[in-house]
Symmetry: C2
Subunit: 196 residues, 2 copies
């Protein structure tokens, strides 16, 4: 069913298209890359592209989904290596910072995505991919009394936004211990949430 020469070729074309367009979008930005360049790099034509994706925006959406899943998986894997919910939160945040330091992830997920898809859709995708986990972790910590009772949504957005911007800055920072300093400051903020 999922097999056959035609299905295999289809999958391969789609994967090549995603791979090449992701490479180009990541290196030069969504707006600066034309479809002609993409289909040329993938050694196909626009007909093939539009057979797999509804539009240039739809292609970008598929790439973003892929990037977000990769980041979310790294964060989840790191967090699940710990038992204590508080350590899960801190380790998850560290893992997110590390994953977001990848230039590809930054250009696609943090810079272009909100402008290309609109903030609302970007937000919805980020929610289901990673912000949901963050909110859940915070809820758990509130439930067990580690964090003072308070609405989790504002907290989620403040932390998410802080880490996103910090990751973008780290990419251009020349100071070799900028990552350590950033983590120290973020850790300081997280500690502030602990019940006194």
């Amino acid at each position: 069913m999922t097999d056959g020469a035609r299905a295999r070729r289809r999958e391969q074309t789609r994967r090549t298209l995603l791979r090449e367009s992701r490479r180009l979008f990541a290196s030069r930005g969504y707006g600066a890359v034309g479809l002609a360049e993409i289909v040329d790099a993938a050694a196909v034509t626009k007909g093939a592209l539009y057979h797999h994706f509804d539009s240039k925006t739809d292609l970008f959406r598929a790439i973003l989904e892929q990037v977000q899943q990769e980041v979310a998986q790294k964060v989840a894997a790191t967090a699940q290596a710990h038992d204590d919910p508080w350590e899960q939160l801190t380790a998850g945040c560290r893992a997110f910072l590390a994953a977001s330091s990848d230039p590809d992830v930054q250009q696609i997920m943090l810079i272009d995505a909100p402008a290309v898809l609109g903030w609302a859709e970007w937000r919805a995708m980020d929610e289901s991919a990673s912000a949901h986990h963050l909110a859940e972790a915070l809820s758990t910590l509130i439930a067990q009394g580690t964090i003072a009772p308070q609405p989790v949504e504002p907290l989620t957005h403040l932390l998410s936004g802080a880490m996103n911007e910090a990751a973008l800055w780290l990419a251009t920072a020349t100071d070799p211990n900028a990552l350590a300093a950033t983590w120290a400051a973020l850790s300081q903020m997280l500690e502030a949430l602990r019940h006194r």
Copy 2:
């Protein structure tokens, strides 16, 4: 010198162009607005537009500069109403949140700007417009011992990113006391920076 019929007409055309394009960019986003629509709304032609601006991107840059100055002025005015550096910081952050709740400001300054101009240029403009003041306030507080000695740059980016994302979320939040809850959480984080 700055007067004369020709100079007055020039200024008026430029201002009309900025006003209309800002309105359109803010309401539908940079990518979804064409130059034809802009010059039509301003009752001029593309010749006039390109006489005042080098490109569509350059037009956007001029608008962004204007928006950032407005926000920065509101923040500075609020901060300077206080004497205590700590109150200047907190009041400034509150003012920034309030100013960034304007949908026009969000679409132009927070959503489109990084993608249109690239993160580096956006960062540079934000730096000279408002982030510089934030960093200065933090430096002052460190110098006077209110905040523990630490690098200010990571702190600046964490706080700036947190406030940006929070402002975007507040725009879509239905909960009427979302602003209060957000400020409570942010205030909690700021308090954490105070020397123990």
